[in-house]
């Protein structure tokens, strides 16, 4: 939208071009990893994981650690959700899940040297606060016994919260446990939309949680919104944006709803005729981008925005932004160790994913085995391309000469296919290629996935049409 981009620094916002977005609206991966998870192979087992862990300890300066814990349970199904989750009201399942989690931690932690500090911990789901605060406390204490938590001020201990099932008093407890960042699901405050997605959530209770996060010392609060939901309108979503922006969360994520009912059963509850048409969906995104820009939010990358004073926004400006399975972060490359059903680890130059169904994960732990499902060791080509995609996602540009120096390749020759694929995007003004650079333009910001896809060697011959959500 010209009105927003003309009033802010050029690197701040998107240049919104509906025609362009329409033209490039096609399925594509989100590149929280490269190669993407569908390319992990089931042959990757316990010995492989032990080996990559050992090698990661052998580095002259072993990387610091990030921990991810997946809590699969939700009390009720949100119909839009494509996450790996289990719906139950039986709270006792939290206890048994935690017990197994701690056994998994006890098996995995000894594989990593104790001088490798944990600088990032993230709890995702599902609904992490399906576990009562007392259980969350046990979890963090258990992790703290097995790993060495960093005491640095910039350590990030974050948790995704469903505001419907958490109280301000719980926030105080979470803060005491050590959490210092929260992420709240909101999606849309419009009651009609909330009914259609089976997630009725009051404005006041949500704002009270944001307020409690501030009061009890959370360093940042993130709010997730979704556009493209059933029965969503510009008026309703506009009101939601006003309400959210007025609460000044430090970070905001605006996700596009990916309707893939064949893949995600819960989405079959959503009636096709209730979904906004592509024009409206784009208009909803445009509205969000405009409102956030007007309210002073800076664009971080992909679906993420932050206030200028937030660490992510500062890191983005200073080139210190990184991205892993948990999203954007200020922490340099860490080795990521995942726990719980479906959790993914990224250790050294490998990816490993746990069993994604609860019975297999439980059985493995009960038998004293690592609950690994599949994985992958990156080849040299994968490592090179993963680095490029990371640069696009975080810095918005690739230093091609640096790549040539690091890998001893001729960029133009090695990436001839990618550069050919980039050419139409260049013609459309999404990227510029001055000597030694490939640079994402403000017009291209909204289409990072499309640009990254040019460097994805695995995309050519597969039915990605059903596997990935559309890019807008």
């Amino acid at each position: 939208m010209q009105t927003t981009t003309s009033t802010v620094q050029p690197d701040r916002a998107w240049r919104f071009d509906p025609e362009l977005l329409r033209r490039y609206d096609r399925p594509g991966p989100r590149y929280t990893s490269y190669p993407t998870a569908p390319h992990f192979a089931e042959g990757f087992g316990e010995e492989d994981f032990r080996d990559v862990a050992r090698r990661s300890n052998d580095d002259p300066i072993p990387r610091q650690l990030s921990l991810y814990v997946h809590v699969p349970y939700c009390r009720s199904p949100c119909f839009y959700c494509g996450c790996n989750r289990v719906i139950t009201r039986d709270e006792s399942r939290g206890r048994t899940y935690l017990d197994r989690l701690l056994r998994e931690v006890a098996m995995v932690a000894p594989l990593f040297d104790r001088d490798r500090e944990v600088v990032q911990l993230h709890l995702g789901g599902g609904t992490p606060n399906f576990l009562a605060p007392r259980l969350l406390g046990e979890l963090v204490a258990g992790l703290g016994r097995q790993f060495s938590f960093s005491h640095a001020l910039d350590r990030d201990f974050s948790i995704e919260l469903d505001p419907r099932f958490v109280s301000p008093a719980d926030i105080e407890t979470l803060s005491a446990i050590g959490f210092n960042r929260t992420s709240l699901g909101v999606q849309d405050f419009d009651p009609k939309v909330q009914e259609a997605i089976n997630r009725v959530q009051g404005v006041d209770e949500t704002l009270a949680i944001i307020d409690a996060c501030r009061r009890f010392g959370m360093r940042s609060v993130n709010v997730d919104l979704i556009y493209g939901l059933p029965l969503q309108t510009l008026e309703g979503f506009g009101r939601t944006l006003d309400t959210v922006v007025a609460a000044r969360p430090d970070r905001l994520a605006i996700y596009g709803y990916a309707h893939m009912p064949r893949l995600f059963k819960a989405q079959r509850q959503i009636r096709d005729e209730d979904l906004p048409d592509p024009e409206t969906k784009l208009a909803l995104l445009e509205l969000a981008v405009q409102r956030l820009g007007d309210a002073g939010y800076e664009y971080i990358g992909m679906d993420h925005f932050a206030l200028p004073g937030d660490e992510l926004a500062r890191a983005r400006r200073e080139g210190g932004l990184h991205r892993n399975f948990m999203g954007y972060t200020t922490h340099a490359q860490t080795d990521l160790v995942g726990f719980g059903v479906s959790a993914i680890s990224h250790v050294g130059e490998s990816y490993t994913q746990n069993h994604r169904d609860l019975p297999s994960w439980e059985a493995a732990i009960d038998e004293g085995r690592l609950p690994l499902w599949r994985g992958l060791v990156l080849g040299t080509d994968d490592v090179i391309r993963a680095g490029l995609i990371q640069q696009l996602m975080c810095q918005g540009e690739i230093d091609t000469r640096q790549v040539e120096r690091t890998w001893g390749i001729d960029f133009g020759e090695y990436f001839a296919d990618a550069l050919a694929a980039l050419r139409p995007l260049q013609d459309d003004g999404l990227v510029q290629c001055p000597p030694g650079r490939i640079r994402v333009t403000p017009r291209g910001r909204a289409l990072l996935r499309i640009i990254a896809m040019c460097f994805d060697r695995y995309l050519d011959n597969q039915g990605e049409g059903t596997r990935y959500s559309r890019t807008i």
């Binding site: 300890n57 052998d58 580095d59 002259p60 300066i61 072993p62 990387r63 040297d113 001088d115 050294g348 080849g379 040299t380 080509d381 090179i384 690091t406 890998w407 001893g408 390749i409 296919d417 060697r457 050519d460 011959n461």
Partner: protein, 251 residues
């Protein structure tokens, strides 16, 4: 997309695979001494000095073990070899690391058996020389003899170098400076290198705790003296590193 060749060795230890039946490898430990005496490679072969190119050994493969009968010394053509012994309580003691162009097995000359273990840290290629034949040849070639004595004294010097009472910073700096020199002597970069040895091996060799090795490296990185990315190390301020090392190296 069709499969194509990807550069794999770029960031690995350089491999000198440019030698053949008639030409010495560019890193050869003996080529200069032999050529200066007027012997080319085919003549050495005729004298049965050159035994064979052997390998590749894969990471973790043993090249020889303590007590194995000694009959050959070997020059490293590619990769890194670690030598070590196990002490009475079974604990490993790292004796040294051998880079392309360097010779392993020299410490076996005094006895008929290898006094230590040698293991490949990555993909290792060797060039084995019959030691009895080489000793005979050396008696006819003063240059080769001198070269062998040099290698032997270097081998002894290396072991005693780090035995003094030095700080962790000094030891590590000396280790890196020596590595850098050894790479440079063979025509490789003096400032960008791949550390093929695990930090536990470096720590063991320098008689430091592994976490101390990392702590010192991290501090040197924070100070801008060097940059470490996984196994890749770049020396940004050689002079500063040299200053730190000079007590140990006495130069």
């Amino acid at each position: 997309m069709a499969e194509r060749e990807y550069p794999g060795a770029v960031r690995g230890t350089p491999i000198a695979d440019d030698g053949d039946e008639f030409t010495f490898c560019s890193t050869c430990a003996f080529s200069a001494a032999c050529l200066s005496e007027g012997y080319d490679k085919s003549q050495l072969r005729d004298l049965h000095v050159l035994v064979e190119h052997v390998g590749p050994f894969r990471e973790g493969d043993h090249i020889f073990r303590e007590g194995d009968p000694f009959n050959a010394i070997a020059a490293v053509r590619g990769g890194t070899v670690k030598t070590y012994v196990n002490d009475a309580s079974g604990r490993e003691q790292v004796l040294g690391f051998f880079l392309p162009g360097e010779v392993i097995g020299l410490n076996a000359i005094a006895s008929a058996r290898y006094p230590c273990n040698a293991v490949a840290l990555d993909t290792v290629m060797l060039c084995r020389f019959s030691f009895p034949m080489m000793a005979t040849l050396a008696s006819r070639m003063p240059g080769l003899q001198r070269h062998l004595f040099n290698l032997l004294s270097q081998d002894i010097g290396k072991a005693s170098l780090l035995a003094g009472n030095y700080t962790a910073d000094e030891r590590l700096a000396a280790f890196l400076v020596l590595l850098s020199r050894r790479f440079a002597e063979r025509g490789f970069s003096a400032t960008r290198m791949r550390l093929t040895m695990a930090r536990t091996d470096i720590a063991n060799y320098l008689r430091l705790a592994p976490e101390t090795v990392s702590r010192v490296l991290r501090r040197l990185q924070d100070e801008g003296v060097l940059r470490v990315d996984r196994r890749d190390l770049e020396i940004l301020q050689p002079a500063v590193l040299g200053e730190l090392a000079h007590h140990v190296l006495r130069d």
